[in-house]
Symmetry: C2
Subunit: 440 residues, 2 copies
């Protein structure tokens, strides 16, 4: 069989990783695919740069769209990045020119995935993107193929290595967020402008894609509820620990009666669960299916070599002639995304309050919870005696005391109502901290 | 496109699970595959039995081989079980008659997988077996497709739910093996004759298959080193806990300089690792690849519904026209399995000795270890004082005291030599317990 000819646009760490993989493991891969995979043309910003890899024999293109349109390639691999601009133009050009596309570009897919899927399927082309979600973890193929007999009810995961690294170090070292972030930036685990990671946007990009694959719906990025990790304090992490929880930033997509709930926020997970041990830059994705039950995949969520492994797996599928609907279901049959708002979210909550130690304060808080029908699983006063504030313990008046509450299952609407009332009552000296508990 | 016609042999829990899945999720699956999947013929031992599922409209065969040869089917699904007899005959018949085969039969594959792969590939047929290893966990497709750009260096996992359930309950309840086993038998988590599970044979069947897929070698079941869990005591579990370990039965296949090491035995794993949280009947498989790094898949290892999910995933691949080499690499290109014997195994060890409390006993033990070049990471005397026995602590003479040793990395040959010498010296009252520590 003829070699599969690849045009590779973007020669950053992942691009060179792909070239390295094909060089080192190309012979074995050829056996497994029944044909050779050859990168015959490349494109990148600077031609002269030494990337430590031999590019001789590969045609050079300054313009990725020109490469995408080249009649000499079968597959266009887009590793440029960015939701608009050169990447989008080149991918569209490739599909219009009848080339299969492999991409690692989560932003592009989160924003334009449904349209690109239509474009690819109209021409019976592959648009593969295993590397766009959770790096080396083969979650896209798992959803698109292995679980295709299942109705998925929930998909969730730790999808951003930077956030997980920061939370892991905060827990292990008791350091505040800002200090660990600064350190992570120095060590290269966080960007100079970390907003995109720490505020959850990157997780949301991946979640939007996973949600579509899991539920057979159009990709909907803008409807995701978003909360980052910058508000998490050592006090929260310590209290979580004592109550048997660890804090992780999760992306969660859930099928509910009122639609699909998509949310990214810090989450309390039982300390002894397997997912709570997914530390540092590792990622994981868990899927609940009606037949398979609960499965979880753990692995490196980024890095040149794991990402190259996924890019090459996508190319190998094309080499084997496997051309599937881009998002699992044919794009024309994808259901519109029906959003379930956060107010209907159901779950337990961790609440940390900074309460003025006045008579009646605690009773007032408990009353506000009761008024919203919220029942409490546990209450811990973090410092001083174990008595609730306002119950007679001698302490300086108007000295706020931290109180941590775990609620039984309730709704987001109820908890927000209760917390607003507690704040309005004037018994707390700042906005209450609220972290959702994820059922496992 | 025409429906894919399935002949299903074996209507036990998994077989009826497959029929149920196709009934409940068939319409969605049809969309995802681009064609319908229809079970048009079945075979089982007793025709009259009520299985709670409608078989009307399906042709009935008393003989599975007759079903396998029927010109009215495209795919033969073998859910009969057993490494010889009806299952083997029917699978061979199906392949000779040009039918694709899907099977959940790990024993058949462990014993005859390489030959069956040759038979299938000679006719360009699929022989899919996702359900044969780790139930609902999609590890076969992950190895065969997602990781095909990698050189795998190790694959290991918790592959038997019965053993994991017993070890989990022993740990949680402090009960001895025999009591938990009896209870597991009453609850249906262990067979009346549990040998096959608890002595590691079932794990070895799955390991033989995984090892072939991971390393591109012929399946070799007979060369697997085998140790079950019946020798594990509450004392071991307690000592492991105190030292920061949990005990799990693992199947491990490892590429070494002297060949492939395949072993099934109880293993010490760090308590805070994700794999150590895989409890009860759950399974998991971990893979170390040269590009992807370390990934792990966790999920239900058995059960009608998870297994049906995997069987249907195999059928769906055939419906989509994906026909791959059975064991990843073409059968003709599989390398012979070169066995690395256990004596060259390298790792740390947990040793529990029952030592006569005599002067010089401890020095003799330490000397034997030193003579084999084994260095000790920690030593714990389990009861009484923390002094080593023989070091002057007053206690009744000839009263054995448990001593637990953790070694640094050494070889199996060295540890066996040392333990033989310690036993021969007469300082211990029984055979030493030895449990390998698995590097993570």
């Amino acid at each position: 069989m003829k070699p599969l000819k690849i045009g590779l646009a973007g020669l950053g760490t992942v691009g060179t990783g792909v070239l390295l993989l094909l060089k080192e493991n190309g012979a074995a891969l050829r056996q497994r695919c029944g044909r050779a995979i050859e990168v015959t043309a490349v494109s990148a910003r600077s031609r002269g740069k030494d990337r430590g890899i031999d590019l001789s024999g590969m045609e050079w293109f300054d313009d990725p769209s020109e490469l995408a349109a080249s009649p000499a390639i079968d597959v266009f691999v887009e590793l440029i990045g960015g939701e608009e601009g050169a990447a989008k133009a080149a991918v569209e050009t490739a599909l219009r020119a009848g080339k299969h596309v492999v991409t690692a570009n989560k932003a592009l897919l989160a924003m334009h995935g449904t349209d690109l899927a239509r474009l690819a399927e109209a021409r019976s082309l592959a648009l593969n993107f295993e590397a766009a979600v959770a790096g080396g973890i083969p979650i896209v193929k798992t959803l698109r193929e292995s679980l295709s007999g299942n109705q998925v009810t929930r998909i969730f995961g730790i999808l951003n290595g930077t956030c997980n690294y920061i939370l892991t170090r905060m827990r292990n070292e008791g350091q505040p967020f800002e200090a660990v972030l600064a350190d992570a930036q120095r060590a290269g685990y966080a960007e100079a402008d970390p907003t995109f990671d720490i505020e959850g946007h990157d997780t949301a990009h991946k979640l939007a894609i996973l949600s579509s694959l899991a539920f057979g719906t159009e990709i909907s990025f803008d409807t995701i509820y978003l909360e980052g990790i910058s508000s998490i304090t050592p006090a929260d992490i310590e209290a979580a620990e004592e109550l048997g929880y660890k804090i992780k930033l999760l992306g969660v997509a859930l099928k509910t009666e009122s639609g699909i709930e998509q949310r990214v926020h810090p989450t309390m997970l039982p300390s002894h669960s397997a997912i709570a041990q997914v530390d540092g830059v590792l990622n994981c994705v868990a899927v609940d299916g009606d037949f398979v039950g609960d499965i979880m995949l753990v692995g490196p969520g980024a890095g040149a070599r794991p990402t190259a492994s996924s890019v090459v797996s996508d190319i190998a599928d094309i080499a084997r002639g496997l051309i599937l609907p881009v998002l699992g279901k044919p794009a024309a049959a994808l259901a519109p995304h029906e959003r379930a708002g956060m107010r209907t979210h159901e779950g337990g909550y961790y609440i940390r309050l900074s309460v003025y130690d006045r008579p009646g304060a605690f009773a007032a808080i408990a009353t506000r919870m009761a008024q919203e029908g919220i029942s409490l699983e546990s209450i811990v006063q973090k410092h001083g005696s174990s008595l609730p504030p306002g119950s007679g313990r001698p302490s300086p008046p108007d000295e706020p005391t931290p109180v941590v509450i775990i609620t039984h299952e309730t709704t987001e609407a109820a908890i927000r109502q209760a917390l607003d009332a507690i704040e309005a009552d004037g018994h707390v000296d700042r906005k209450p901290q609220m972290i959702r508990i994820e059922r496992l």
